[in-house]
Symmetry: C3
Subunit: 187 residues, 3 copies
C-alpha cells in the first residue's frame, strides 16, 4: 500500500517535472550572440526559474550559463551574485555548494564520488567509491576548464588557474594552478 | 559494374544504418536523473543495442554512458563489465580496444592519429600523419577528462589520474598522472 | 528617431541572420562517419558558407569541423588551408585570428577576456576584466584539448602539445607543452 502511494507520488512529481525539464533544455541550449554582455538576459532568467523549480537553490543574482549538465538538480547551491560558466558538467551524488560573489569560468567539471583503490583483491574500477560534497566559499574566482574532485574545499578569496585539477583543501588568500593544483603565490 | 554493385550495397547499408543512428542519437542525448545508480538502465540498454548494430563490439555487461562522439562505430571494443564514462570523444581511424573490468571516467578523448612533424620542408599541419591503435588492458581505472594519444598502450592494473595526457606505454601496477602522465607510485 | 531606425535595422538583420544561424546549427551538429577523410565534405562546405554569411572570414580552403561554439561570428578569421578542429569553444569579445596552413586539433578553448585581480577592495570575480585579441600565425600545429587565454600570440612554425594551457607569446621554432605551456625543444 505504502509502496503504491510512493509510486503514485513519484509519477505525479514526474508529470510536473518533465515539462520543466523540457523547457530547461531549450533555455540550456541557446544563448544570445553577445551572451556575456548582460549578467541576466531572458535566457539566464529562464534557466534560473527552471533550475529553482527543479530543486536547485539559486540566491539573488546567481547566474547559470548555457550547456549545463547536472545529474541531480537538488544538489546544487549557488550564492548571491555568483556565476556558473557555460558547459559545466556536474556529477553530483552529494552537495555542490558555492558561496557569494564566486565567478566560475567555462567548462567546469565537478565530481562528488571516487573509487578508493584500497581493496587489492578487487578490480580497480569495481572497488567501493567514496562520496563527499564539494564546497566553494565566497569571493572565489575559478578559471576555464577546471576539474574539481570529490571532497574538495575551496576557501574564500582563492583564485584557481585555468585547466587546473583541484583536490583537497585550497587555503584562503592564494592563487592555485596546475595538474594537480598547487599554491603558486599569495594574492 | 563492380563499382555499381558496391555503391548499391553501400546505399542499402546506409538505409539500414541511418534509422539505427537516429535512434542511437536519442538514447545518447538523454539520461535518467540518477543515472549512475543502476549500472544498466533502459537508456544504457538502448545505447548498447544500437552500438552493437552499428558495429561496435560490447561484451557482456559493458556500459556506454551518454554523450558519446565516435567517428567510426566499428573500431570500438569494450570488454566484460567495462564502463565508458559520459561525454567520451573517440576519434578512431584505428582500433580502440578496452579489456574487462575497466572503469573510464567522464570526458575521455582518444585520438588514433597524429602528425609526425619530421618533414621540415612542409607546413607542420600538412605533414604525414601516423595512425596507430590505442589499447587498454583489463582491470584499469581512468579518471575524469583524460586524453589518450595514438599508439598508447595501458597495461593491466593501472590507474590514470584525472586530467592526464597519456602517450606511449603505461606499465602494469602503477598510478600515472599529469600532463604528460608520469609514474607517481606503485599500487 | 535615430534609435528607431537602428532598432528597425537590427530587426531586419536578425530576420536575415536567424535562418542562417538555424541552418548552421544543423551543419554544426552532424558529421559524416569518416569525417576526416575528405578535407571538405558537404557538411564542411555548408558550415563554411553559413559562417561567412554570419560574418566570419574564412580564406580559401579553410575548414571548420563540427560542434563549434562561438559567441561572436564576426570575430573569427581563419587563413588559407587552415583547419579548426571539432568541438572548438570560442569566447570572443576580441578578434581570434588564425594564419595560413594552421592545423588545430579537437576541443580548442579560446578566451579573449580575463579578470585582472588587481583591485584588492573588490570581490575577485567582480574586478575589471581585460580584453585582448588572440592571434595564431601561419604554419602552426595545435594538439587536442588546448586552452588559449586572452592576449596570447603564437608565432609561426610552433607546435603546441595536447592539453596545454597557452598564455603570452610563444616563440617561432619551438614545441611548447604543459599547464602552463613551456618551451620543450626546438623543432
Amino acid at each position: 500500500m505504502n509502496r503504491a502511494i510512493t509510486k503514485s507520488k513519484r509519477v505525479m512529481k514526474l508529470g510536473y517535472l518533465l515539462p520543466v525539464i523540457l523547457i530547461f533544455t531549450v533555455f540550456n541550449s541557446y544563448t544570445s550572440r553577445h551572451f556575456f554582455k548582460k549578467k541576466m538576459g531572458l535566457l539566464e532568467k529562464g534557466r534560473r526559474i527552471c533550475l529553482q523549480l527543479l530543486g536547485s537553490r539559486l540566491d539573488k543574482g546567481a547566474v547559470v550559463r548555457k550547456g549545463l549538465f547536472i545529474t541531480d538538480f537538488g544538489k546544487l547551491t549557488l550564492g548571491k551574485n555568483s556565476t556558473l560558466g557555460p558547459f559545466a558538467k556536474l556529477f553530483l551524488f552529494e552537495q555542490f555548494s558555492v558561496g557569494d560573489n564566486v565567478e566560475i569560468g567555462s567548462g567546469l567539471t565537478v565530481h562528488t564520488s571516487e573509487h578508493l583503490l584500497n581493496e587489492t583483491d578487487k578490480p580497480l574500477g569495481k572497488q567501493s567509491s567514496l562520496r563527499a560534497p564539494v564546497s566553494i566559499s565566497s569571493d572565489v574566482y575559478i578559471g576555464s576548464n577546471v576539474t574539481i574532485l570529490s571532497g574538495a574545499q575551496i576557501e574564500s578569496r582563492v583564485v584557481v588557474g585555468a585547466c587546473s585539477l583541484v583536490k583537497g583543501r585550497l587555503e584562503s588568500g592564494y592563487l592555485y594552478a596546475g595538474v594537480p593544483a598547487k599554491k603558486i603565490k599569495s594574492i
